[in-house]
């Protein structure tokens, strides 16, 4: 098991989770937040408009009420007064009382300011009393401005009353002065509904409650109790055209807007409980909040899932790579994500498979090195292709060589000496074979077998084999000189033959050999056995292939074991010129 890498400083899981979560949650929060913000402001503006419209509507209704009374009074001041009692006018006055319930009494004043007629629901009617009313502010007010609305007075400290006087278009028609019971505005004010539970009320100029759906508040005529309403009006006046939040008499939070009633100089204020007015806004805010929370949770779940999907395969890949790295090339990463991860896993699996093949091959090649010339081994190693070792039939040159008198030497000499001689001998042979790019098939005691033109083919194999044999002779003869001085009576002979042979790997996975099977091997071996010291014997095929490039001497055909006919033999003349 290879050492596991250090734990990462930050986990990919955390990074991806945060990134994905932020990618989903942030836009959601920004969108939701801005939606809530703008929604709130839109709704607030809509409420503003709504309450403003309600206030103006309510003001118009109250104004209609007042103008209705004014118009009725206008009928009474259309004809000039005569000196005599005007019965018709008395009937008109009585009819006015009948028609306008809010008018409690009506007084008609002529051009001279004298009372000509007084009718009342409660008091006795009077005709031509002649009472002087020219100093009455109602009369003076109507004369200067056609219509005069007096201040609100509270009868018995409770019931709101007001004097309304109307003058005709000429002074001769006089003035009509009416006492109006303002309690009758209740019919108007109680009919006004703002939203579901919102209502309207009327304050006069000094801030006294003139009309309210709860008539008892008006009748209480308690200026201290109406303080919150005055505060409300002051707050609205401070920010004209805006609906504001404040408190009503019961100290409930309300949203209120105001409209003035011209003429009487009153204010109509409409109010709606804040909870009701903002119910839709609050509901929307709640909705948005819940959606945002749900969205955020969803984003977290989604981010977790996606991250898991991404990091899971990565961990699987990491483990797999670790296993493969540990040499378990048969390990396979199984990923079915259908995306790049799966492709990556497939790549890793392919890599592992190729690594396994490559390892097997390199093991095989290392085994081949034993008998392949280094160049060949290198070639096979480099190409990674050992198909050259596959079995085939090819024209080869087989070279055999061995030492003469080795058996007697090995019997007499010390094992160290034998091994030392053999070591030098092997070294010399290996060096020569290597130089000539031949294949050393192996040593067998003092004998060695070398193959030329297999497994790697080369040009002019016969010549190369002959030249190699010459080099072998020269190299070994040099050693022989040394050994002889030490008293070892040894010689060296070489035989080679050329011909077709079946070459290739033989053997099991554990014990693999490269072999050349055919008559030519046998012939080369026999020629070697028949060669004397310092002699190189070659067969006819090799001699023919060499031609004249190497001096040869044809010897008498020899009878060789395993061959029915005597075999033509040639000896290589070497060392000439050396």
């Amino acid at each position: 098991m290879p050492h596991s890498p250090d734990a990462p400083r930050t986990s990919l899981f955390r990074k991806y989770f945060l990134a994905l979560f932020a990618a989903v949650a942030l836009p959601l929060l920004i969108a939701g937040g801005s939606e809530a913000w703008f929604g709130y402001h839109d709704q607030r503006a809509r409420l503003n408009d709504l309450l403003d419209a309600e206030a103006r509507g309510a003001a118009a209704k109250i104004q209609d009420f007042m103008e209705g009374i004014r118009d009725q009074l206008g009928w009474m001041v259309q004809l000039p007064w005569s000196e005599n009692t005007d019965e018709r006018r008395r009937l008109d006055a009585l009819r006015l009382l009948r028609q306008v319930p809010a008018v409690v009494s009506l007084r008609l004043i002529d051009a001279a300011g004298k009372e000509r007629l007084f009718v009342s629901r409660i008091g006795l009617n009077r005709v031509e009393s002649g009472e002087d009313h020219s100093a009455n502010p109602a009369v003076a007010g109507a004369r200067s401005g056609r219509v005069w609305f007096g201040p609100v007075t509270f009868y018995g400290g409770s019931e709101p009353f007001m004097t309304v006087s109307v003058a005709g278009n000429r002074s001769a028609v006089g003035v009509a002065v009416a006492e109006v019971n303002l309690k009758f505005i209740w019919d108007v004010i109680s009919a006004i509904r703002v939203g579901r539970t919102g209502e309207a009320f009327v304050l006069d100029q000094p801030g006294r409650l003139v009309a309210h759906p709860d008539i008892s508040l008006v009748l209480r005529a308690d200026e201290a109790a109406t303080q919150p309403l005055q505060a409300l009006r002051a707050a609205i006046l401070a920010r004209p055209g805006q609906a504001i939040t404040g408190q009503d008499i019961a100290r409930n939070s309300v949203l209120a807007a105001m409209a003035p009633i011209p003429g009487v100089d009153w204010s109509v204020i409409v109010k709606q409980p804040v909870t009701e007015a903002f119910r839709r806004i609050n509901a929307a805010l709640w909705r948005t909040g819940v959606l945002l929370i749900a969205g955020t949770v969803l984003a977290a779940v989604l981010a977790y899932w996606l991250t898991q999907r991404m990091v899971g395969p990565i961990r699987l890949l990491e483990e797999g790579v670790a296993q493969i790295g540990a040499g378990q090339f048969d390990h396979r990463i199984s990923l079915g994500t259908g995306d790049e991860f799966e492709r990556l896993a497939t790549r890793f699996n392919e890599m592992a498979a190729e690594l396994a093949v490559s390892q097997e091959r390199s093991e095989r090649i290392s085994r081949l090195r034993r008998f392949l010339a280094p160049q060949v081994a290198e070639l096979v190693d480099r190409t990674g292709d050992d198909s050259v070792l596959d079995g085939r039939r090819v024209e080869v040159v087989v070279v055999f060589c061995d030492l003469r008198g080795f058996t007697a030497f090995s019997a007499q000499a010390e094992p160290e000496t034998v091994m030392g001689v053999l070591g030098e001998y092997y070294g010399a042979i290996e060096a020569v074979v290597s130089v000539h790019g031949a294949t050393l098939m192996g040593f067998s005691g003092d004998g060695a077998m070398v193959l030329v033109n297999a497994p790697v083919s080369c040009p002019d194999p016969a010549l190369r084999a002959v030249s190699m044999a010459s080099d072998m002779q020269m190299s070994v003869q040099k050693h022989l000189v040394g050994w002889r001085t030490r008293g070892h009576q040894l010689g060296f002979g070489v035989g080679l033959a050329m011909g077709p042979a079946t070459v290739g790997r033989i053997g099991s996975e554990g014990r693999l050999d490269y072999a050349a099977i055919g008559n030519v091997t046998n012939l080369a071996s026999r020629l070697c056995a028949s060669a004397r010291d310092s002699e190189i014997l070659i067969d006819r095929a090799a001699a023919r292939a060499v031609g004249s490039s190497v001096p040869l001497v044809e010897l008498d055909p020899r009878s060789l074991k395993g061959f029915d006919q005597p075999v033509p033999v040639f000896a290589v003349v070497f060392g000439i010129g050396h």
């Binding site: 008395r90 009937l91 009585l94 009819r95 009382l97 009948r98 319930p101 409690v104 629901r121 409660i122 008091g123 006795l124 009617n125 509270f154 018995g156 400290g157 409770s158 019931e159 019971n181 309690k183 008539i215 008892s216 009748l219 209480r220 005529a221 308690d222």
Partner: protein
């Protein structure tokens, strides 16, 4: 819980017929289940000066007012009735009875006597009165806007407008120089009304004959006296005792062929000539509304006394025809209701 009100109503009926003092102990015993019930359903103690019959139209208006405040008798409210059957001396005892029953609120409609009887019976249980007179002058409350204490209610203008009745009579019979006035001497408003009427007679240049009646048996003699005094007609002062006996008065007026005017529209509807007075439907409705609001938790001292400002005139053309009278245009055009 639904059977409870009927059980209690039955108990109340039984108790009414017995001597109160003898049953004081029993009444105390009754308060136990009554208290237990109180938490579930509020009880109104309704103190009536007459019997349910004459009160029927008033009760209807009263229940309308309760409904405005969200209460319906038998569903979320029980009403215990105590009727004086015209025996106004019984009122204090009946009021005390209601107090002992620990009702949630006492409703005392139909005049100052009823209100004063309730007022003297308790200073804690809220009382809603209904009357035609001025509650301040009658000593029921100190102020209209801030009644204080445990009383509030509704007042109509019936008492104040009794002089208008004389004026209308004068308008109908401009040649008559004298009129008879019917007064109930036991009524707490009788003296103020007499003063009022006398002042009006003086300014109209009329002579008044005062006739008194405080019991039904005296009515006949009163009408007979009108014919004897050569008075042009009979003007009734405002008094609940008269108002609740409009039927009888209408019959007697027709019998004696006396032109008469009372405060209640019941009179011309029953065949009398004319009426001018406060709208009792409004006043009783407001009283119901106030009772409901008090049950809901409002304090009577926070509820100002309401004045019913509507004064209505009803005339009966048939009665006028029988008396060989015709209403002048001023009266015809002023009338809120004309019975033909």
């Amino acid at each position: 819980m639904r059977f409870m009100p009927s059980v209690c109503a039955g108990a109340a009926g039984r108790m009414r017929r017995r001597d109160f003092v003898a049953l004081a102990g029993a009444a105390m015993a009754w308060t136990l289940p009554a208290r237990a019930q109180q938490s579930a359903m509020p009880i109104i103690g309704y103190l009536g000066s007459e019997s349910p019959g004459p009160y029927a139209s008033r009760l209807r208006a009263f229940r309308d007012g309760l409904a405005e405040a969200g209460f319906v008798e038998g569903r979320n409210l029980a009403i215990e009735y105590r009727w004086a059957e015209g025996q106004y001396r019984q009122l204090p005892a009946l009021a005390t009875d209601l107090v002992n029953r620990q009702v949630t609120v006492i409703v005392a409609p139909g005049g100052a006597e009823v209100a004063l009887a309730a007022k003297s019976a308790t200073t804690t249980i809220p009382i809603v009165f209904e009357m035609g007179g001025d509650p301040i002058a009658l000593g029921v409350v100190d102020s209209l806007s801030r009644p204080g204490g445990n009383l509030t209610g509704v007042s109509s203008l019936s008492v104040e407008v009794s002089r208008k009745r004389l004026e209308f009579m004068h308008e109908l019979l401009p040649t008559a120089r004298s009129f008879a006035v019917a007064v109930n001497p036991t009524s707490p408003t009788s003296s103020s009304q007499m003063k009022n009427l006398q002042a009006a007679a003086d300014s109209l240049g009329l002579e008044l004959h005062v006739l008194t009646a405080s019991a039904e048996q005296e009515f006949d003699g009163m009408f007979r006296a009108v014919s004897q005094t050569q008075a042009g007609g009979l003007v009734f002062s405002s008094d609940p005792y008269f108002a609740y006996r409009s039927q009888r008065l209408a019959v007697l007026a027709a019998q004696h062929a006396v032109p008469a005017v009372t405060q209640s529209r019941d009179f011309p509807i029953a065949g009398g000539l004319m009426s001018y007075g406060g709208d009792f439907e409004q006043s009783h409705r407001h009283a119901g509304n106030y009772a409901g609001r008090i049950i809901k938790g409002e304090k009577p001292s926070d509820l100002p006394v309401q004045r019913v400002t509507k004064v209505e005139m009803f005339i009966n053309l048939k009665a006028a025809g029988a008396l060989r009278l015709s209403f002048p245009p001023s009266l015809l055009s002023s009338a809120d209701g004309v019975i033909e």
